[in-house]
Amino acid sequence: NRGSDSKAGTSGKVGIDLPRSDSDFWNSYNSYIEKGVKAGDVSALPRTNSQNDIGKLVANVQNFANQGAKAIVMAPQDTGAIASTLEQMAKKHIPVISVDTRPDKGQVYMVVRADNKAYGQKACEYLGAQLKGKGKVVEFEGALDSINGRDRSEAFASCMKARFPAVKVIALATDWKGDVASAKLQTTLASDPDVNGIYMQAGGVFLQPTLALLQQKHLLKPPGTAGHITIISNDGIPEEFKAIKAGQIDATISQPADLYAKYALYYAKAALAGKTFEAGPTDHGSNIITIPNGLEDQLPAPLVTKDNVDDPDLWANQLGKS
Amino acid sequence: MTDPTTPTPDGPAPPPAVQAEGVVKRFGPTLALDRVGITVEAGDSHALVGRNGAGKSTLVSVLTGLHVPDAGRVSFQGEPAPAAGDTAAWQSKVACVYQKSMVVPDLTVAENLFLNRLGSGRVRWSALRARARDLLAEYGVEVDPAARAGDLTVEQGQFVEIARALSFGARFIILDEPTAQLDAAGIDRLFTRLRDLQRQGVAFLFISHHLQEVYDLCSTVTVYRDARHVLTATVAELGKAELVEAMTGEAASHTAAWHATSAARDTAGRQGAEAGPEPEAVLRADGLGLEGAFDPVDFAVRPGEVLGLAGATASGATALGETLVGLRRATAGRTLVAGRPVRPGSVPHALGAGIGYVPEDRHRQGLVLGRSVAENATLSVTDQLGPYGTVLPSRTREFARRMISSLDIKTSGPGQPVSDLSGGNQQKVVIARALARDPRVLVAIRPTAGVDVKSKDSLLGVVRSVAERGDAAVIVSDELDDLRVCDRVIALFHGRVIAEFDSGWTDRDLVSAMEGLPSGGDKGAEE
């Protein structure tokens, strides 16, 4: 697996750490990264995987540094505990590209992520519109200690409060666990049978359990029919698209795994080349903003509904090909 | 090298119940059995005696298939022993009461009795309990078959194991020190049962350190010494002295304890004389009582005196002993050492006040089995083995060596785990621990349980010597041999003092007192 190292494209190698290997979304991301590396976008050291463990991540990054990496791509799932590592890298003048999360502290060359607050915002607006501003919505929150989960929850909550005060939100802590979500949803349905909206913060974990439960309870009514529960998901994985086509869920927000990978490598290359960026719109329809500890390229996260579910530009629709 | 010319009561006709030849068993470096043999004729009751660590229990585990011998042959009724591991087959040949407890504490008495004999199909618990009750009744043990085995007293537990072994209907039964934990009454009940079985032609291999029992029960005796076979003879032809000599390998100096006693009595007397009418008691219990165990008692132990607390099962004697050493908090009265009251219910304070303790059950309270002999022997003196609360290994080993040699503990060295010692030697380690602090008062509960004759004398001698040097000792026991060492014996029965004897009591008086039938006077000078 070190074969790809040999054909050094630009000067110096990039150390790439993959955050975890047990989630559909991240595995797609991983595969895009591999594609990119194979395609010679950059020459990379052997990929490491921190299995969602900050200790491993820090160790891996240090190993990259020891092995002479000139730039580092990581996706720290823990945005706090990466701080001192970022500072070390800054001292060593190794630029760091942080994918998907925005480190709380420590210099980064570029943060490549879609705006998670926007996710919550969009979900809220969609549900609010669909429910005509009233009803009961169940929200599967991710882990409380995950920045992405928190951003989505906060944005969703504040938007609901501000714009759809008549909608009652039942927030359920799930720790990103499908079975927990299913159990709590089942309980909630027993106490509030009139739930008519669901927002799941991660389709990857919540989709199947939720569908299975609703199936069992005969609550999977096609859109438009009475008693239909409006469901909006998040991630934009192929299963969600299937569900949308099948009319089981209404929408999802496509978290662009492909763009994450593409621009992670893009900025890594740029960093090797010593390029610098500043805030403002980019050539790829996104927007770079300034954050206290660097820049953040906020990639677009399109809302996917029945209407645009077949859009070939959506990453999930490209998986089959190439 | 068994002695083939072993005289057998009933001719050569039936094959021997068990025959073992050239059995060798090593435990790591320790040679536990060195080419030994034994032949138990059918229907014979055969005694196996030897000093602690001679290899008796090891032979037992070889004969019952628990250990595979490194060399040698074992055969039952003439046919070779079953394959190792095929425990079921072994059980059909031989039943055994092991020296170490083989009850499952969390199971009921009934289930322990019929362990793995619950029959096929559904277990009928009520029926099982009924059978258990009958079985136990044969031994006159009043135990609720539904009680947790772990909650039984040591004695009752022992009887459960005996009843289990004898209930197999095996033609050959091994009993490894079954009487070590029994009181006189219990031993009677056991022996009547065994004699019944003898009459039915069941063969026994009987291991005990009470030589008298050997003479009472057995017709043949085999002696092991240091893992080797020494002799096999008919009991009738072998005098006690010769037997002891065979075991110890030296001219018997039995009755050592006796000299000790008489000597001690003078010294005690003399000191009494010098110190005037009321010498300061080393240990005094005034109104000491424990709810539910024993009524308040008063007694004082003078310097140079050994006091005996005689009590059978559930007499409260042990409870009294355990209260004295602070393991149980007295509900009435107090304990004084040299006039100063001891904080009740606190072992450290009792130790500090100079009370040494030999607990009743060495496995429960005596030893940390996983740890070395040295560590166990010095457990209560860790504060004396180095400056500033340190424990120096050198001093620990040194200390342990002294104990090992003075108590004649058979071990491969201070570093050997106690769990590898033979039963009797483990007991010696416990006593070493009690003596480690040079206690002013030594409270010993059944100090000689499972200890061989010679060691018994030397141990009792040790207890005496505590008294000799002007301190005092209390022996809680129902073994007459232990009590003989005492200058004074208080007999408890069901939590009450029922009689008090000066030394020179007769066995009959004391035994009947322990059984609750005080024969009034404490006179009678013959032994």
Partner: protein, 346 residues
């Protein structure tokens, strides 16, 4: 009783033994019922916080939610009773179905997951169970033959099997599974999910076996004092081995139910469950040192844990304090049960 003359000591002992004997009995029985009061308390609280609590919908829901966990608890309880432990159950529930899928799913086609299509789809359930058996067998081999420390060995297996699942499934959830595989977990018989009936039956069978069959009782003897058990002619190693295998078998079966229940083989299925499994088993009165406890107790343990979740959800606990409350309730429950049984726990 033979002749009285020699019975004095025992006779006298009897009076004060009797009382000490009786309570014991109750105690040991209490030990398994000690969670009943806890469950009652939870029931009352649930009833107060929400009328929905006592609806059959909700209660059946609770049962269904614990169905998979309870099978792991069933297995672990038996393993603990015979004095061992197996941490790898939480990974077996995930890897067994995945291996089965890998063997039966066609190597090409529309399905998002491609296996090697070695065997027809209907074999998937038997395959899954077989894999469970093999895993348990291997655990037994390490623990009983190689004599390595069971805790670490199964902890290593836990990690290894989870890794194996990631490797084989490429970390994906597997959504398309053969009909037969997802049937049991999804079906519902006479008004309640099939899984619930199955679990209840399995617990009943297990309970009877442990209570009334010779080999069942042997587990207690082995766990309580394996040396005594061996001396009594019980085939300690063989039975332990079988128990370990059955435990993993149950875990694999739980995997089958899980897939039907949640509609996919999740890549994190069972992840982190082992704590709950132990919590449920031990709080239910099964001793970590072996030889004590009943399956019924273990079952009450699982139900208690899930009822806590159910009640806190109905009560609408703020997510931020959800976990805190859960832990606190566990501790309170533990204390209640300890004083309900009046027995010191160790």
């Amino acid at each position: 009783m033979s002749d009285t003359s020699q019975l004095t000591a025992a006779d006298v002992a009897a009076p004060d033994r009797a009382p000490s004997g009786a309570p014991r009995l109750h105690l040991s029985r209490y030990r398994d019922l000690s969670l009943i009061p806890v469950i009652l308390v939870l029931g009352v609280i649930g009833f107060i916080v929400s009328p929905a609590f006592l609806t059959s919908d909700n209660l059946i829901g609770v049962l269904q939610q614990v169905s998979e966990l309870s099978l792991l608890v069933l297995g672990e309880a038996m393993i603990l009773i015979c004095g061992r432990m197996d941490l790898s159950l939480e990974s077996t529930i995930g890897v067994a179905p995945v291996i089965a899928m890998w063997l039966v799913m066609p190597s090409s086609g529309s399905a998002t997951y491609h296996g090697i299509g070695l065997l027809p789809g209907w074999t998937s359930v038997p395959l899954c169970l077989l894999v469970g058996l093999l895993i348990g067998g291997f655990n037994g081999f390490m623990i009983l033959k190689l004599r390595v420390n069971g805790f670490i060995a199964t902890l290593g297996m836990l990690t290894m099997l989870r890794g194996l699942q990631d490797g084989i499934s490429q970390g994906k959830s597997i959504v398309e599974v053969p009909r037969s595989f997802s049937y049991l977990g999804g079906a519902s018989w006479i008004g309640a999910p099939a899984a619930v009936w199955i679990c209840l039956v399995l617990f009943a069978v297990g309970g009877l076996a442990l209570g009334y069959l010779r080999h069942g009782r042997a587990l207690y003897a082995i766990g309580g004092n394996s040396e005594a058990a061996r001396a009594a002619g019980i085939r300690v190693d063989r039975i332990t081995w079988i128990v370990l295998a059955v435990g993993s078998l149950l875990a694999a079966f739980a995997g089958v139910l899980y897939v039907g229940h949640y509609g996919a083989i999740s890549s994190t299925q069972g992840d982190g469950w082992i704590f709950q499994v132990f919590a449920a088993t031990v709080i239910g009165g099964v001793s970590l040192n072996g030889g004590r406890g009943t399956l019924f107790g273990a079952l009450t343990g699982v139900l208690t844990l899930q009822l806590v979740v159910n009640v806190t959800t109905l009560g609408g606990v703020p997510p931020l304090w959800d976990k805190f409350l859960y832990g606190a309730i566990i501790i309170v429950a533990l204390i209640i049960s300890r004083f309900a049984s009046g027995e010191k726990q160790d």
